[in-house]
Symmetry: C2
Subunit: 234 residues, 2 copies
């Protein structure tokens, strides 16, 4: 009974999905980690059937890579995919900004302001600050009431943390909190173009800070591919 209420909505498969997603976004499961169906099911107290369903969902969201007959692992997007992803994100978030500009209700403004304060407060701790930064963008998307837009922004933001985990510089705050505040100000003032430009700059600065890969754990094949081409191999 108590159990039934505690799954947070939907079936237990959704619960598994949420658990894994959260773990991935918190980087408790880092890109490339294997995700064996039975270990997960065993640990979570569900059968492989449900784990499988969750993994399929995650793979559709681009958080998990599902290699036939070889199991699932946390997705390891390439740097180029990362750049493209931020391009796509920019296109969608521009729509978010255009939709919201000058139309925020007092209540929405309150929510956003509170969120920015929370970001400010958590600035020191790495993991929570990354998550909060992402949530600011999904919050904005949410306010458009455009379901497809919301879904895609959510997905892209989620995948962005994977990208940053792989290629982001360790010591730069990914989203400057002050930029969020500025953006909010422009939105309230209804300065659509300036807000859009700010968002563009905001995302652009993230991609620009995504240059060198975090060392060590990169895939051998990926590293070699550049050299292979130069030598005319494979």
């Amino acid at each position: 009974m108590a159990n039934k209420e505690s799954d947070g909505g939907g079936g237990r498969a959704q619960a598994v999905h949420r658990v894994l997603k959260r773990a991935i976004l918190d980087q408790a499961l880092s890109p490339g980690s294997k995700l064996p169906e039975d270990s997960i099911g065993e640990r979570l107290g569900v059968s492989r059937t449900l784990v499988r369903e969750a993994l399929v969902r995650l793979s559709q969201e681009g958080l998990v890579e599902l290699r036939p007959n070889k199991g699932a692992m946390v997705a390891r997007p390439t740097l180029e995919e990362g750049r493209n992803l931020f391009l796509t994100r920019m296109a969608l978030e521009r729509l978010v900004v255009e939709t919201l500009s000058g139309k925020l209700t007092r209540e929405q403004i309150g929510v956003l302001s509170a969120h920015i304060s929370a970001e400010e407060a958590a600035k020191k701790e790495r993991a929570p600050s990354i998550r909060l930064a992402g949530e600011f963008h999904t919050l904005l998307a949410q306010m458009t009431n455009n379901t497809s837009l919301i879904r895609y922004v959510n997905e892209l933001v989620a995948r962005s943390s994977l990208i940053l985990a792989l290629y982001g510089r360790p010591h730069s705050s990914e989203c400057a909190v002050s930029e969020h505040q500025e953006l909010l100000d422009k939105l309230i003032a209804g300065k659509t173009d300036e807000a859009a430009a700010l968002m563009a700059h905001h995302l652009d600065s993230v991609t620009t800070r995504a240059l060198l890969p975090a060392d060590g754990d990169r895939n051998i094949k990926e590293v070699l591919s550049a050299y292979a081409v130069a030598e005319g191999l494979a």
Copy 2:
């Protein structure tokens, strides 16, 4: 053996997914149709497990609605969702156009021209012409080499046919073929802004043509039999 090759790539679950998707996009299964797991599995010669997986995928793509304990049905988006969807689509397809403008290779131009010719030829038959019109847009997206962009445009185009099935006027060609040709011309000429404007107008004119619903529920097994053969299932 022959069977294994004929599933088109991926496992049998993917095959089921393709069958259903195709059937939905062809409007052989119209919005609101029930999708019982065992009828489908029985007809396609697979177990409910695989059908379930396919349905989960389709629900993530927004093509089917998955109501807990009450089964799946082909999605029936509201008119407002439809409008929002086209808004989102516009944002993404603008990015497509901007990416491609002035950068099409000779080969790509050939492919697109050929496609437009095919559209022209199929103009009379309703179902194929709808599919071809959508494929023009997914073809363009494909050429950007931006995987997330490709995925989202594909999804959005697919869902657009649902919208048109529900609210589109029966006798208007959804995408004027001539507009596709014009767009291609602008892209070749590298006139980015004009191309973007044309795309905007193109999609806008579709949303403006939003009206009456259609009807007709047919037997699932009957409808699926044609598609099953194409995928080498049962």
